[in-house]
């Protein structure tokens, strides 16, 4: 291979260390790592080639550091897991040894090789060798790079004013970082405001929520916008430019006679706070005592009839106004929460029978009913309640119907079991004569003090009935003559799979969690949901609150089902992350951005036209050899390194640093050569 020799001659001072990781068997069970080591050892420029059980361990890293210090290794190639996992780890090790961290190249031989070629050890080993070879080819051409250092705005945006958003706002503000909080609805508090007492504290939800809200409102570094939504975002971690659209409330905070104003409104719409069990007006409050206490106009349903204005002209402005607010923040916390699963028409009789309601509705029903009288629903006294678990959760393809988007809700919603049992205890306390039947598959009272609710429910004589997924319960109208309107039919596996029928007055469906509809927002932020449609973290253990876009952080149930404690904990963890990112007032970006060779550039400007990003590349006047001419100039902070300009440039004047055309070509050549060698030997 004559070219290789030449290369070696050109780069006499290139000394490569090659490291192949066993990954505790993940790689070495399939790929013959020792063979990879042996073969790479003989290649040009390679000074050492080593293997280790776990290269990312401290000992593994120390070995690499020592090779750099003692054996003069000045290029490092590591074959291991995907770079997304540990590239940062190894860059750290390389830098500690005094070498520029970008003189290291990472080859993925786990996700791209051993994990996908299980059955074929030989081919997997060959592939590893080819991949390592191309990594080596690139390594020979690596140049030292410097990360882009930028000042970071000590200011964060929190999207969503539920308990998670409120808590992260408060925690971030306590780290001396300014916070802007936007809430889409007119009122703060999210779903927690709709709960009464909550597990595991048994305290009234709104009491503790209001305390938090008051602290957030009082905090000098937090600005809150309700009826506001994010409309656009540009920029990067440390310096995002956000446009927020704020809709006017239509009501002044001075408005006095709130009740008379509400009464005057002729519009009646379903009251979402009470999940449709009641109606409300188009000028309204979510509930008495909500924050902010000012009424709001529901612009979607207001007919602009002007009746409220007649009651109080000074406090009401029926002209809907929208204002755009610009904020410049260093990080964004997404805390947009969840919505309860809405059962399909006919699912367990929902929509067909008025006596079938959901758990959140039942919680509101209990609150509206009051505690000192018999439990009534639609004019009937309720004596027998059937509770059905896992509605809209734990669906199994083939057994349960997919949702509208074709996906099956295959996850557990984690909160509904304990919430259901907590409610049965509440019912028992206030309505001692009501019979309750709990129809479940598994009871998941996993958390600290949760099991207590299960125990209490049994002591409270809640009758448990266990079904299996394939033979879930069904709800029917009772035969004539039965004084209970509905009957639940199911097999009960606590009694040897007997078919049983439970006559009831009310069926409560323990519905699961769905993410709030935030497709537009996810597009603006360029973040992705996972398979379960909830927002996806980078890695559940390594980077549990971060998204793939650096600087955009997750908090609370936008990420998946959680109870209050878990939402709040996640919110605080998100705040910690924001503080780590922005606390020092500086962020570092990877240097993989476009770089223009001004000797080759002739200022033709194709690059500027194709660049999809704002202010990333432009033609500027520069002086070259005393002559003023136009040349393309890159603003590194705005460039994402997509490479569009590279392909558009007619003069090959642009390269992405760290991923130059020359490097690509050498890698492709190495792969082609490797494949050819394999064919010849076969």
């Amino acid at each position: 291979m004559p070219e290789k020799k030449d290369l070696q001659k050109d780069n006499e001072d290139i000394r490569i260390g090659v490291y192949t990781c066993y990954c505790g068997g993940n790689i070495s069970d399939i790929v013959d790592c020792e063979k990879v080591r042996e073969l790479t050892e003989t290649l040009p420029n390679v000074v050492v080639s080593r293997t280790d059980m776990s290269m990312c361990s401290d000992a593994g890293q120390a070995m690499i550091e020592e090779d750099i210090r003692k054996h003069g290794v000045n290029r490092v190639v590591i074959g291991a897991c995907a770079p997304s996992l540990h590239e940062q780890t190894f860059r750290g090790a390389v830098a500690r040894a005094g070498l520029n961290p970008f003189l290291y190249y990472h080859v993925g031989i786990r996700e791209q090789d051993s994990w996908v070629h299980h059955g074929n050890h030989e081919a997997a080993t060959e592939k590893a060798i080819v991949l390592m070879n191309s990594g080596l080819a690139k390594a020979r051409l690596l140049k030292p790079l410097k990360p882009i250092k930028l000042t970071a705005q000590k200011h964060a945006l929190v999207i969503g004013g539920g308990v998670a958003g409120l808590r992260s706002a408060w925690d971030i503000a306590n780290q001396d970082i300014k916070v802007t909080l936007v809430e889409k609805s007119p009122f703060l508090g999210g779903r927690m405001a709709q709960l009464e007492t909550v597990f595991p504290t048994n305290k009234p939800a709104r009491d503790s929520l209001h305390e938090l809200i008051e602290k957030v409102i009082d905090h000098p570094s937090i600005t809150i916008h309700t009826q506001a939504e994010v409309k656009s975002m540009s920029g990067y971690i440390g310096d995002f430019n956000i446009k927020i659209e704020q809709i006017s409330r239509g009501v002044s905070s001075e408005l006095a006679d709130q009740e008379a104003v509400i009464d005057s409104c002729p519009v009646e719409v379903s009251d979402e706070f009470n999940y449709g069990l009641k109606t409300r007006k188009a000028i309204y409050q979510a509930y008495p005592g909500n924050f902010p206490s000012t009424l709001a106009i529901d612009w979607e349903n207001c007919t602009l009839c002007g009746k409220c204005e007649k009651v109080n002209s000074s406090g009401i402005d029926l002209k809907k106004k929208s204002e755009i607010i610009d904020v410049n923040v260093g990080a964004v916390v997404v805390a947009t929460g969840f919505k309860p699963y809405e059962p399909r028409q006919g699912e367990y009789g929902y929509g067909d029978f008025k006596e079938v309601i959901t758990l959140p509705q039942m919680i509101r029903l209990l609150a509206l009913n009051g505690k000192d009288k018999a439990l009534m629903f639609k004019g009937r006294t309720v004596r027998n309640i059937g509770l059905i678990h896992c509605v809209g959760s734990r669906h199994v393809p083939g057994i349960h119907e997919p949702q509208e988007d074709g996906k099956v809700n295959d996850y557990c919603s984690r909160v509904c079991c304990t919430a259901t049992l907590h409610m049965t205890n509440d019912i028992r306390q206030h309505y001692p004569d009501v019979n309750m039947y709990d129809v479940y598959e598994d009871i998941r009272t996993y958390g600290r003090n949760h099991e207590e609710y299960y125990k209490q429910a049994s002591e409270n004589l809640v009758r448990f009935v266990r079904f299996q997924a394939a033979e879930g319960p069904q709800v029917f109208a009772s035969e004539n003559g039965n004084d209970q309107p509905l009957v639940i039919k199911t097999k009960d596996y606590l009694t040897a799979g007997l078919d049983i029928e439970i006559p009831v007055d009310l069926v409560v469906l323990s519905v699961g969690f769905m993410p709030n509809p935030i497709e537009e927002l996810t597009k603006i932020l360029k973040i992705n949901p996972g398979n379960d449609r909830f927002l996806q973290e980078v890695h559940p253990k390594l980077r549990p609150v971060e998204t793939a876009v650096s600087g955009i952080i997750l908090a609370g149930t936008a990420q998946g089902p959680m109870n209050i404690q878990e939402s709040v904990t996640a919110a605080s963890a998100a705040a910690s992350k924001v503080s780590v990112l922005l606390g020092q007032g500086q962020v570092e970006l990877e240097p993989f951005v476009a770089d223009v060779d001004h000797d080759k550039c002739n200022g033709s400007g194709e690059c500027v036209q194709v660049c999809p990003y704002e202010d990333a590349i432009s033609l500027e006047e520069v002086t070259i050899n005393g002559k003023v001419c136009k040349r393309a100039v890159v603003i590194p902070a705005n460039c994402v390194g997509c490479g569009s300009c590279v392909s558009a440039c007619p003069n090959r004047a642009i390269d992405i640093q760290g991923w130059t055309l020359g490097q690509y070509e050498s890698m492709v050549d190495a792969i082609a050569e490797g494949m050819l060698a394999l064919e010849v030997s076969a």
């Binding site: 066993y22 990954c23 068997g25 059980m53 776990s54 990312c56 361990s57 401290d58 890293q61 897991c81 540990h86 780890t89 750290g92 808590r167 925690d171 306590n174 780290q175 595991p200 504290t201 305290k203 938090l212 602290k215 959760s393 295959d410 996850y411 557990c412 984690r414 598994d442 009871i443 998941r444 009272t445 996993y446 958390g447 600290r448 003090n449 099991e451 596996y493 606590l494 009694t495 040897a496 799979g497 379960d532 909830f534 890695h539 253990k541 390594l542 549990p544 990420q559 089902p561 209050i564 404690q565 709040v568 904990t569 605080s572 963890a573 998100a574 910690s576 992350k577 780590v580 020092q584």
Partner: protein, 448 residues
């Protein structure tokens, strides 16, 4: 006894995943942190696991880089083989006395070359392998230990002196004495983790005497690539088991043991191990006897359904008793809940107890940080600040506050760091405001 003094913003007690993450989250924000770990290496229970649910990542891939990051973070002072002896209130902060236990090795000199370990003639049961494999009296605790320094088990050392001769840098010192350290700190974070239910806790399951009844941690080591045998073998005769059965809730949700809570991880680790076993022993039958399968976390239910689809058998049944037959096969007496409570006997080759989580460290003899009725550290404000203990300035994270898995431990670590940071800031800026907010919260919850 020589006394060293250090002054930090935060003291983290416990170097498992929770303690490491808490320390990193604080140090990355610029705080000075001391991390005290009683064992000779950090890593906690997690570093001994095989692969971890729900992603089936190899455990070292997640843990070892964190351990390394802790070792290299300039703001962290790492104190391994060190225990906290006393805590005194010092204004709003604390003065903590700790003892560096003698390793009988000079940490500055030892290079971790292990020459001493190779020549040591004493073979002992390896605690890192849950006593399944063997280890020398002088050793690096395990291959990926941080720090990579040897430690000498003086109780089992025969003082033959071979290690001293083998050591090229003269690091071994049989006369080393305990060393006292005074740590002045603004805040304390307890991340002292958990222990598993002892194997002999339940008489019904053979009292820890049946050889082929092992526990979940034993199985983790058998499955780990760095494990003692490199294979899954049963202890009595070293045979590959053809039929393996799991007993769920072995030590949890059990009033007779005074453990009424659910341990939260054992359903998931049993499912995980069952999946790994069907890879390692493709022909083996695997059965899980359970009461409720609690696959509640993100991606966990899907993991459970995958396991079912792989042919792992889930039987809703209570294991009342385990005996052994003449071939030392465990014989299960099971009340089959799904079959109306009929009682049957099933024989398997190997039984695995899905043991639960118990608190590992009781701080009360040292300082009045009260425990809850479950024995874990009391965190009175369960919903709003689950990392606050009853003492302002002392926070808790991870399994020290009750059973939890790694994902949840990491989340609580981040939240404890956030709470501690606010507390430290309020002290250092003399800004009473947010500290009094925390104090309010704590006072309030004490009344509740």
């Amino acid at each position: 006894m020589a006394t060293n003094k250090i002054k930090v913003d935060a003291l983290v007690v416990g170097g498992g995943i929770s303690g490491m993450q808490t320390a990193l989250d604080l140090a990355d924000q610029g705080y000075q942190v001391a991390l005290v770990e009683k064992e000779a290496s950090i890593g906690g229970k997690m570093i001994a696991l095989s692969k971890v649910f729900p992603t089936l990542d190899c455990c070292s891939c997640i843990t070892t880089p964190k351990m390394s990051a802790v070792a290299h973070q300039e703001n962290i002072t790492l104190l391994t083989y060190c225990e906290v002896d006393h805590i005194k209130q010092n204004g709003k902060g604390f003065i903590v006395g700790a003892t560096n236990k003698p390793r009988y090795v000079d940490m500055d000199l030892c290079t971790g070359c292990r020459q001493c370990e190779y020549v040591c003639p004493v073979d002992l049961k390896n605690p890192f392998d849950n006593n399944l494999g063997a280890i020398r009296a002088i050793r690096v605790p395990f291959s990926t230990a941080v720090p990579q320094k040897v430690v000498l088990d003086i109780d089992n050392c025969i003082l033959c002196g071979k290690c001293q001769t083998a050591c090229a840098v003269d690091a071994i010192d049989f006369t080393q004495q305990p060393e006292e350290i005074m740590i002045e700190t603004d805040s304390i974070l307890l991340a002292t983790g958990f222990e598993v239910t002892p194997k002999d806790a339940k008489k019904e399951y053979g009292n820890g005497k049946l050889l082929n009844v092992i526990d979940g941690l034993d199985m983790e080591r058998l499955l780990a690539p760095t494990g003692p045998y490199g294979h899954v073998l049963r202890p009595s005769d070293g045979k590959e088991p053809d039929s393996i059965a799991y007993v769920q809730c072995a030590g949890s949700r059990d009033e007779t043991l005074g453990v009424e809570y659910c341990s939260r991880v054992c359903c998931m680790y049993a499912i995980k191990q069952a999946m790994l076993l069907s890879g390692a022993l493709p022909l083996a039958d695997i059965t899980i006897y359970y009461m409720d399968i609690r696959a509640f976390g993100k991606g966990y239910e899907q993991f459970y359904q995958n396991a079912k689809a792989m042919g792992i058998q889930f039987i809703k049944g209570k294991v009342a008793k385990i005996k052994e037959d003449e071939n030392q096969n465990p014989v299960f007496r099971v009340e089959m809940v799904d079959e109306g409570g009929s009682v049957v006997e099933h024989t398997h080759d190997l039984a695995v107890l899905s043991v639960g989580m118990l608190p590992s460290f009781d701080p009360t003899p040292i300082f009045n940080v009260p425990n809850d009725t479950d024995g874990f550290i009391m965190t009175p404000d369960q919903n709003f600040s689950a990392s606050l203990t009853m003492i302002p300035g002392i926070f808790a994270a991870g399994a020290a506050t009750g059973p939890m898995d790694i994902v949840d431990s990491i989340m609580t670590a981040g939240s404890a760091a956030s709470a501690a940071s606010a507390y430290i800031k309020s002290q250092q800026n003399g800004k009473e405001e947010s500290s009094s907010k925390i104090a309010d919260l704590q006072k309030e919850s004490q009344h509740a």
